[in-house]
Symmetry: C2
């Protein structure tokens, strides 16, 4: 067990880092944030902040030496930065989980190796790969960058022969995958934690609605049959075990004809788990801190029905009305600049547990 008063290093100073640091403070830990951009949300809630880029070896070393464990709020931390840090201090969750989730191809291969279903996919390195792959999948298909994609970024939907020809023509050699589109009826996600004793705690799976590739709402309880929920939890546990995972993991799943198809895994706290802040005694942020600190996991049972709604861009301007609603808890991220679709905060709308 990491002693009270220890310092947790967090790579990334966005809203996830901010809410992780708040959870860490509840357990008597200090946080040190490493973030390239200035005045990040997590800096305001943490004992210490290093403003430096991920290529700054000396800053990385100084950061690593000042902390007792390092975790991260996003999976696209450069490998070289992780190498520097790991030579000095433990990183949790582990590098394998990061490597797999950083690359859509590795991720799909890993999931299939566990006999978990994914969308059909094909590795793409040049335009001839796209041509070949398109003969195997029906349109529409989606061309996705293998790395650095999030919130629908780095994706091209190929929904016609014309679009296919255009994409093939303009494609320059690079690492992509082509994915067959899944006509899913619902999207759910499982947020689960595992600690170093192998203890696993799963939050109730939530049902997600995305708009333009960005999460809009998560609803718990989902309206899925019990056996689907059980399957979702079991397959998440399988992933946690296989990766010898420590921390919180988010698994996004498509539901198609009573079958579960894994969309992607995120080796970190996840936007679709924000409802736990008001629906559970111990939320996803505290479970993550407990797990990486070798503490027993907490009570993750759901005590309320929750609809979590993201506040994107200008949504936040309406805050004075939003907070008038009773049975609502608001969580704002302290971001100075409003941009379209930027995640500025979220609201948990609550009702008695059903």
């Amino acid at each position: 067990m990491l002693p009270i008063g220890s310092t947790i290093g967090i790579l990334g100073g966005g809203q996830l880092g901010r809410m992780l640091s708040v959870a860490a403070s509840r357990l008597g830990f200090k946080c040190h944030i490493f973030e390239p951009s200035k005045n990040p949300p997590a800096g305001e809630t943490s004992a210490r902040l290093t403003t430096a880029c991920y290529e700054d070896i000396e800053a990385l070393k100084g950061f690593a030496k000042s902390v007792d464990v390092v975790t991260f709020e996003f999976e696209n931390v450069p490998v070289e930065a992780l190498d520097v840090i790991e030579s000095i201090v433990r990183i949790s969750p582990n590098r394998r989980a990061l490597r797999i989730s950083q690359d859509r191809l590795f991720e799909k291969e890993f999931l299939n190796s566990l006999d978990l279903k994914t969308a059909p996919y094909h590795k793409v390195e040049d335009s001839s790969d796209i041509k070949n792959a398109l003969t195997m999948f029906q349109l529409p298909s989606i061309l996705k960058t293998r790395k650095f994609g999030y919130d629908g970024k780095g994706q091209i939907k190929i929904d016609s022969e014309k679009k296919a020809a255009e994409v093939i023509k303009n494609f320059s050699k690079s690492e992509y995958i082509l994915e067959g589109l899944i006509n899913f009826s619902k999207e759910i996600s499982v947020i689960a934690a595992r600690n170093s004793d192998g203890q696993i705690a799963c939050f109730d799976p939530g049902e997600n609605i995305h708009t333009d590739g960005v999460l809009d709402t998560t609803t718990v309880p989902s309206k899925l049959p019990r056996h689907i929920i059980t399957d979702a939890i079991l397959l998440t546990s399988k992933i946690l075990e296989e990766l010898n995972y420590i921390g919180v993991l988010g698994v996004e799943l498509f539901v198609l004809d009573n079958e579960l198809i894994v969309n992607e895994i995120a080796p970190r706290v996840h936007n679709s788990g924000h409802w736990t802040q008001n629906g559970c005694v111990i939320d996803q942020f505290e479970q993550h801190i407990r797990a990486i600190s070798g503490w027993p996991l907490g009570d993750g049972r759901r005590y309320m029905n929750v609809i979590m709604k993201n506040l994107l861009g200008n949504d936040i301007l309406d805050v004075s009305n939003l907070i008038k609603e009773s049975k609502a808890a608001i969580h704002l991220y302290g971001k100075e600049e409003i941009k379209p679709k930027r995640k500025m905060g979220h609201i948990n709308h609550l009702s008695e547990k059903s």
Copy 2:
């Protein structure tokens, strides 16, 4: 309404300041802590920290200029410091509430002026006052400093003629009151908030148990009859209105033969309100921040039964066992040094609402 991104100044950097700053961050505010001692708990969770004493006029001015409103985590802020700050920026709750709660004599006079019952008391300035007062009260009585008392400090129990003689002999001219002892059956407290629109939100009154003058547990729901609870809430509202109060106020009450006797009022968030962190959607800390920021108050209804237990001194060494318990939420304050009876954290033990 204070705009999102504003900075809230907090006088005092202890656990109350720490938990206030965390609540402020949820609403998108920054905090600036003013605290004489080094490395205070609230410094680790706030955007900015000024380490200076309350006599440092320049530091106070710099602090006041950097924030949009000032609040405090303890009532014994020196008057001169408040004068400096108030010449620059608004202080909330207001000075009258502070003045009354800083002085046990003013407090009793104020409460009696509202027709609220208090313990019998007598102003004491020299030893002859003690003699006179003792003729009016039965033993035991308690000699209390008018100012700067907390957690049972600054109090002498006079429980025998011998003790009375000893106290009278050793008494040097100073500001005290002598209070008749109340043989109360229970002690409860009401935590309530009022904002600038006059909106009032009262948390469910909790039942307190003190050990050696320090709060040990608060239990909600209390086992009091409904009419007593209603009376407690009504008298608290009366105090809030009379003081034109903005912020969270704690009122400690003795229950004696179905009557309520006001023990003291605290113009701030209160230890006996810590259960709200896990029993309500919006806790006392967020209600305070909402109130002083001119925001609508939140949903303060109780959704769980809670027993809040303070972790004093060495209690914290047992944390690895304490957190194994399910349905418990732990809150640690990040204090470096353990001292006997020092408040190091608290645990909220939860059960389904009854």
